[in-house]
Assembly symmetry: C2
Homo-oligomer: 236 residues x 2
């Protein structure tokens, strides 16, 4: 392969995910995509993909420090992933925006499945924090969360279940994701600094529509490719 | 859930896959999507999704007969999936086309990742069979295949690695997928009836670009949802 990497399998899936996600985002008007690679430098694989995507984008990188990396053998819940990367994006937004810039910030994992209707919901209105997924709504206000696990967390929401108005983020410079947050409290670590529960604005018809799906792509079994070895001129 | 099903987990993934795929196809001009459900009847889940997709589509169904179904405990290579469904689509095309209708037929799994450039390649030109993936090309002709497993199969191509001109399909009514084909010979069972190796037209720069990725979506761990049970008014 032209872009050697110590981890060929994750990289294959990563490219597929970015292709798929970029093609979804290509439908969304007025979108700017901030892609933060978890790597010591930006890779040509991602640079090329972004350059060909037709999207407005910013390409950044920050490597997760070794002590915060989750190992292959660790259970998936041991550490959240992509925390430093989300914080790097927040930093970039703060450096490159004026306090009054409009906009809404949404934290998109690369492997989730996003309905186009999600972006209409995120875009609409000038609010502070907003959420969907499955908060419990009464009288147009969020009063709690339906979650199988610790529903009493301050914000029992997945990363994909909320968006934040850019001016609110800019007005609260200390708000960031805490990489050492307890399991399930990563979202709360940002949101607690920004809003209280009753300030959340429920979207998606009072949080009754599923517009994001927490999908994960299977790791390919690489037996055949390992047998054959890489080909010099094919970008996989 | 409003659409009860004996297999809730696969259905969740199926909807995510169809959302994602439909949004990719929405970029493709002149496309008609034939969706064949493996079910005793068309389901409201898929009907609704198609109706909201903005795509031109035909919604069919055919259930895989029990003796050809792969069981959860079977290894994935034991039986190919989606064979009767592809044959149902071929039948529909033959019933609803005139012999001279232009068009190109491509067999798209719902879980693969398709680059938009794929559809430009598939569309271009008025040819018979065409292929990409990784056939070996010499002097503009396919002379064999690079495959880790039985490269000497008549057509050592994945389902996602070729397309066929509609007139050719119409001119060869007996050509179909053989559900009892030996492992890895499903693609060959159709293509052998249609073309010889040297009639294949290599695409994607002599088959050096990867435009489809054979991704699979992880089965979600349903622990949390099982704990909570379904909600009456939320379509998942
Ligand atoms: O080593 C890694 C693995 C993942 N991620 C990112 O962190 C986010 C969450 O990771 P993942 O999807 O694996 O977690 P899950 O959704 O399964 O909890 C995704 O956007 C990944 O791209 C990352 O930055 N570094
Ligand atoms: O019970 C099933 C399982 C799968 N499929 C379809 O058959 C194709 C191939 O299935 P799968 O992706 O599971 O196979 P793989 O690509 O992993 O070999 C896909 O389009 C599926 O939608 C089907 O019709 N019935
Ligand atoms: Mn994820
Ligand atoms: Mn598949």
């Amino acid at each position: 392969s032209r872009y050697p990497s110590p981890r060929p399998c994750p990289r294959l899936v990563q490219k597929a995910e970015l292709v798929r996600l970029s093609q979804t985002l290509l439908h969304v008007k007025g979108l700017h995509w901030i892609v933060v690679e978890d790597a010591p430098a930006r890779t040509p694989l991602v640079s090329t993909l972004l350059a060909q995507s037709g999207l407005s984008f910013t390409h950044l990188h920050v490597e997760t420090p070794p002590e915060l990396q989750r190992q292959e053998s660790d259970p998936t819940w041991l550490r959240p992933r992509g925390v430093e990367q989300r914080n790097r994006a927040l930093q970039w937004l703060r450096e490159h925006s004026q306090p009054s810039d409009p906009g809404v910030v949404y934290f998109a994992d690369d492997d989730n499945t996003y309905s186009l209707r999600l972006f209409e919901e995120v875009r609409a209105g000038p609010s502070g924090g907003r959420c969907w997924g499955r908060p419990l709504v009464e009288g147009g206000r969020v009063v709690g969360f339906r979650a199988g696990w610790r529903p009493t967390r301050p914000f029992a929401l997945d990363m994909a279940g909320f968006a934040v108005a850019l001016p609110l983020l800019l007005a609260t410079p200390r708000a960031r994701f805490d990489p050492r947050a307890e399991r399930g409290f990563l979202e709360s670590s940002l949101l607690s600094a920004l809003v209280s529960l009753d300030q959340l604005e429920p979207k998606a018809n009072n949080c009754t529509k599923v517009l994001v799906r927490h999908t994960r792509t299977e790791k390919p079994k690489m037996k055949q490719e390992e047998l054959l070895g890489p080909e010099p001129d094919i970008e996989v």
